[in-house]
């Protein structure tokens, strides 16, 4: 693919044939890489000014000193020391990591199978579009509303308990459904499965059906086709979806606060308490630790699948 693309693109115009004059000859032609730079520069500029510089800023602030009245430029490691010597820091990281891995496993299972169903099993393009839209429409409602939508559903007198009791599966309402780790995980899966379906479906759509037929003809079982053809060819989507779901859960501060009933905290909710108290240096240190943690996890996933090589062809 990439070889074809680079060779077939000719940045320099072919010299005009002898005897045939071109009417407009550009006096000056930018080299191809310079055109790319011009095209990419607005995006790069915004990301540098609004993402990279602020990140460097709170990296600097994380070494600052502070008291109740203000913050003072300094280079001290106290903020990190305080953070890393508090047992609750590790507890919160551990609990976030637990949520992230459970939600990752569930959304991966759901996302992969649903993407496969939509891309491979649905034959009509129209039906496929409609089903995709059905998956996407709840995404349009505010995440906050979708989170609290679970409260009347899972609550003591909620719809789910009513259904269970009407079906005589249980004779008294289940209490563990709401304001628990269970509720947190259910909400995350509800919010983030689409982030898995999208990238995986995109990867799967590029698989040539002839490959699957060839594998079947060569005697591969359904399971073998899945394992040796479909999964390897969808790995970019799987990696991208995993990165998105994982980082969303690690960066969440609304769902845990709302749905755990105060039993769990999240890293970012801890951080936002510090920000509200205007304790910017410890909040910055906290933020840096989270950034490094997420970066290491994402880099680990990128080592397994080189997303860049697969995406930019």
């Amino acid at each position: 693919m990439s070889a074809h693309h680079t060779t077939s693109f000719r940045p320099v115009t072919v010299p005009p044939l002898a005897g045939r004059k071109r009417l407009t000859l550009p006096a000056f032609r930018l080299p191809a890489w310079a055109i790319s730079w011009l095209q990419v520069s607005p995006l790069a500029f915004i990301l540098i000014v609004l993402f990279a510089l602020p990140t460097i800023l709170f990296l600097a602030v994380s070494f600052f000193d502070y008291d109740r009245t203000g913050i003072y430029p300094a280079f001290i490691l106290d903020n990190y020391h305080d953070l890393l010597s508090t047992p609750s820091t590790y507890r919160v990281y551990l609990s976030s990591l637990k949520f992230a891995s459970i939600v990752w496993a569930i959304t991966l299972f759901l996302g992969f199978n649903i993407a496969w169903f939509l891309v491979h099993h649905i034959r009509s393009a129209m039906v496929r579009t409609v089903l995709f839209l059905l998956c996407a429409i709840p995404f349009w409602t505010s995440g906050i509303i979708r989170t609290i939508a679970w409260i009347p559903f899972l609550g003591r007198n909620g719809a789910f308990n009513q259904i269970l009791m009407a079906l005589h599966i249980t004779d008294k309402p289940l209490e563990f459904l709401l304001f628990s780790d269970f509720a947190v995980i259910v909400t995350y899966v509800h919010l983030f499965t689409l982030l898995m379906i999208g990238p995986i479906a995109n990867s799967m759509a590029k698989i040539d059906p002839a490959l699957l037929e060839a594998a079947r003809d060569a005697g591969a079982s359904r399971w073998q086709v899945m394992l040796n053809v479909v999964i390897p060819l969808s790995k970019t989507g799987i990696a991208l979806g995993s990165i998105l779901v994982f980082t969303q859960v690690m960066g969440d501060y609304f769902v845990v606060r709302q749905m755990s009933g105060g039993q769990s905290a999240s890293i970012v909710s801890m951080l936002s308490t510090e920000i509200q108290a205007m304790q910017y240096p410890p909040a910055s240190a906290n933020a840096m630790v989270l950034v490094v943690f997420v970066a290491i996890m994402v880099a680990g996933m990128m080592r397994v699948v080189d997303v860049r090589k697969e995406l930019v062809k």
């Binding site: 990419v40 505010s142 939508a149 909620g158 719809a159 933020a287 995406l311």
Partner: protein, 286 residues
Amino acid sequence: MMVGGTPRERITGNRPWTFRLLVILFTLYMAFLYGPMLVIYVLSFQGENGGVTFPMVGTSVTWFQAILQPGQMANIPVSFSRSVSLAAVVSGLTVVFSVAAGLGFRRNFPGSGVVFYLALASLVMPSLLVGFGIGLGFQFLGWQPSLFTSALGAQLTWTLPFGLFAMFAVVNRFNRSWEEAARDLGASAWQRLRYVTLPILLPGIIGVAMGAFTLSYDEYARTTLTIGPKNTLPLEIYALISSATSPTLFAIGTLTTGGSFLVIAVTLIVVMRLQRRRTAASLKVG
């Protein structure tokens, strides 16, 4: 077109057992996805004396009327119009910048790796931290955060990487030989872009625009520390939750879904018209 199964299966329509299993899974997922949504649609018609949970105490449209009246806690109509105008600007900028960058990434250029990882980092950065950094920066510079400065910037750090990654997928499917044919026929760079590249990429570009609009419209964590004194809709909703919960929130959810269906229907019709016109044009040419 993706067509599953062996040729015999395709003709007789026999589906493998995995198909049935996946239909069940998909149906269950739909029930899971829409179950709580249906509950809030129903509860948004809660009677005047009812609360945010079952049982229903009669039915009414009180909560829909409540949306339109500016309350003490939240002013929904004004914050809604702020959210929509911000989302429109974000969506426009995202389309222009990410389509340009997506086209730029088709060639290898020095520094492409840096830009790629910058975009990826911006995408995976915990959202609140982006807002925190920008908010800090504004504070240091002595600037007042506001809707179309800091909040707009904070949202772009989220929608631009999304747009870029979506454009990779769109551009990958684009067949370069169309452009070459246009070039061989003497089209200028501008003509190639205007009459060949952009029309072919249009469905993907509409997708990017709609995606960016949605991301901006729902954005909470990046915006909360960068918005200044005037809230967007998600921030108003958050304020409503922390004060007193009423079925108004559910009414907002119901209206949003209704609006989404409307927008999607209109978009589908437009895209289908486009495709029909294109097919007709290509038939005429062919």
